[in-house]
Symmetry: D2
Subunit: 214 residues, 4 copies
């Protein structure tokens, strides 16, 4: 099971969460990664935890002021990147180009999507994984695997029909070990979460709770 903690632009200390995650992985079989802001990648990677970018731009080296180059996040320590998160949508053509950029830089990829149809579409572009995150559940208290189990099952089936090599993760509302276990039961190979760990008073305890469901 893969647990990706997205720190968004929350006011947490990224190094503290990263250290908690690193320590938690040492006592668990689960794979945990932290996705901090671009400016924090180096500090998070320095803790030894697997580090992901939240986004990379669909561009190569050149005149692209203010954009996030795949090579730059790789050099800062990231080994993977989210793409098309609901808070950072890309055009279809740009998802395709950003996947090329990530591949060029050696980054693993997860493309986010709202529903099974979009999961199938994203899978057709050849990422390593897709994540289904119903927008109406993001940031809420109820896990997608509990609130809408069918959407997870359909997403798994949709991706599998297009390309069985593409893993399916799920997100939105995931905060407990039961949520993680429910996601796994529905066929998801990983979960994306954010506030449940990033805003926790005790990130390590929050992570241990999640990992109890693996």
């Amino acid at each position: 099971m893969f647990v990706l903690v997205n720190l968004k632009t929350y006011p947490c200390d990224p190094a503290t969460v990263a250290e908690a995650a690193r320590d938690a992985t040492e006592e668990s079989d689960a794979r945990i990664a932290i996705a901090p802001q671009t400016a924090h990648l180096g500090r998070v990677a320095a803790t030894g935890i697997e580090t992901w970018a939240q986004h990379v731009a669909p561009v190569d080296h050149g005149s692209h002021t203010g954009h996030t180059l795949a090579e730059a996040v790789r050099a800062a320590g990231a080994t993977g990147t989210l793409l098309n998160h609901s808070e950072r949508r890309l055009t279809l053509a740009d998802i395709d180009a950003a996947l090329d950029a990530a591949e060029r830089a050696g980054l693993e990829t997860i493309v986010c999507a709202n529903n099974p149809d979009q999961v199938a579409a994203a899978a057709a572009l050849g990422p390593d994984a897709v994540a289904v995150e119903p927008p109406e559940l993001i940031g809420g208290d109820v896990s997608v695997a509990t609130a809408d189990p069918e959407i997870v099952e359909k997403a798994v089936a949709a991706a599998d029909a297009v390309d069985p090599d593409v893993a399916v993760y799920c997100g939105a509302g995931v905060s407990t070990g039961d949520d993680v276990a429910a996601a796994a039961d529905l066929g998801a190979e990983g979960v994306l979460l954010a506030s449940g760990v990033a805003k926790a008073d005790d990130p390590r305890a929050a992570l241990d709770g999640l990992l109890s469901g693996v």
Copy 2:
């Protein structure tokens, strides 16, 4: 064979092109449609030619100042709409929502895409058709079916693998009957073109030339 003439924001008289197309269809088995600017839909539809929108917004009735509602283009006479044209890209989520809007309003749909991977992705969203238009050939003198025949064949195969009910059209550089015949030979069920007719001194002659390839 479906021939869709996109008038873009060219300085042509939309009614003149529409009348030429209407007259041309009366002497041909091919299906021809004209896609004018939104403000010209009524004038084009009044000629009796099949009329398409160039874009509809991924929204429903509501507070969306300056956006193009599917219902409004339908009421103005459109029976179909292009989506995600290379000059009017949409996010993956918005293509999905715009397809919902088009279906709600009873509009036929074509989603444009750059390459076979994006064609597969677009097909997964369930449009009536997808169109492959390599950006580097748009507006040029060489037809996609001549310059890059493999891309058309791969697009047909890619869409078919995802959903055999989705038709595949091709565009970029199409201007002669030979281009149309080449597209059909490669498995395309239609062609998208623009300047070849819209900027022609004699749109009727240009259309007759195209239809000679059907």
Copy 3:
């Protein structure tokens, strides 16, 4: 006093509202205009009421599929256009280019803005008018002139300091004659409104109510 009724993408019949506005202007000294969706411009203009576009694109004739050309809305009967509405934001460079497009097509212009600083910025680009519409009040029941009279006064002063030839209008929550009178007292030369007329059971009565404040 200028009263501009923005029909957004509301499910109203644009011709019915246009006819009510035309009739209302015949018994009032106020200037009223209707801004329907692009696809409805011709129907609204045919009633004889002053007709405005909700948006025009920052482009000239050319390859701009799915964009709204200033010339096309002019040909459909519009004599003015809103720009940069809070539901259709433009970059600073594109507001500038869209003003050029509107001028080229002979369209009067109103640039929308959130606050006095943005009003000053918009005025510097040389539109005919600017409209201050605090986002938090749009669509609400309380008029900007009542909820935040200072913002209207400051907007008037800000535009005047940059260019005294630029008129200042206000919007957000305007629905009664008292709202219009309050706006005029604060120095606004016009009001923008939407749902108060567009969603009224009796648009003519709603307009007469507004005009009672002139």
Copy 4:
């Protein structure tokens, strides 16, 4: 005179350019700053050179995956930020909000603009400085101060009329000491440049050439 070197997403080593700039400033009265990619801010700041961000997002802490928070670039060592670069355009409302974000985080600001009208508009939003960069000259071999001296003079006058506290810089094609001297003669208090230093075989020599014009 302020010399801001924008590294864009060029394939240069940011630390090498930063060290060259730091050494150059030690022998010059000019103020030099380096604007690397977000992921490189920490490495550049560690050299001791003044460090700028290329962009910050118009948001506060919260759910903004993939966006660049002002606080995060500040924590990584930036003390200023470009906004609205021609390669990273923002809506008028977002320039305003990004300026608020920069002020909140204690970042100095430069808002880029195409022409004197946009310079006046940008100045009305209260940044520390505006930079006029005619898009057609960016990346070219001829400096704005040589190719279009009038645009620099008009930009200085336009900003001064709106707010005399806003400094005016110029960019596009700046690469020699003569360019810098010409810009200063026209009233600019600084220059923005990119490839002239970032792509130079010897960044230090390129900088010394520029500083000879101060």
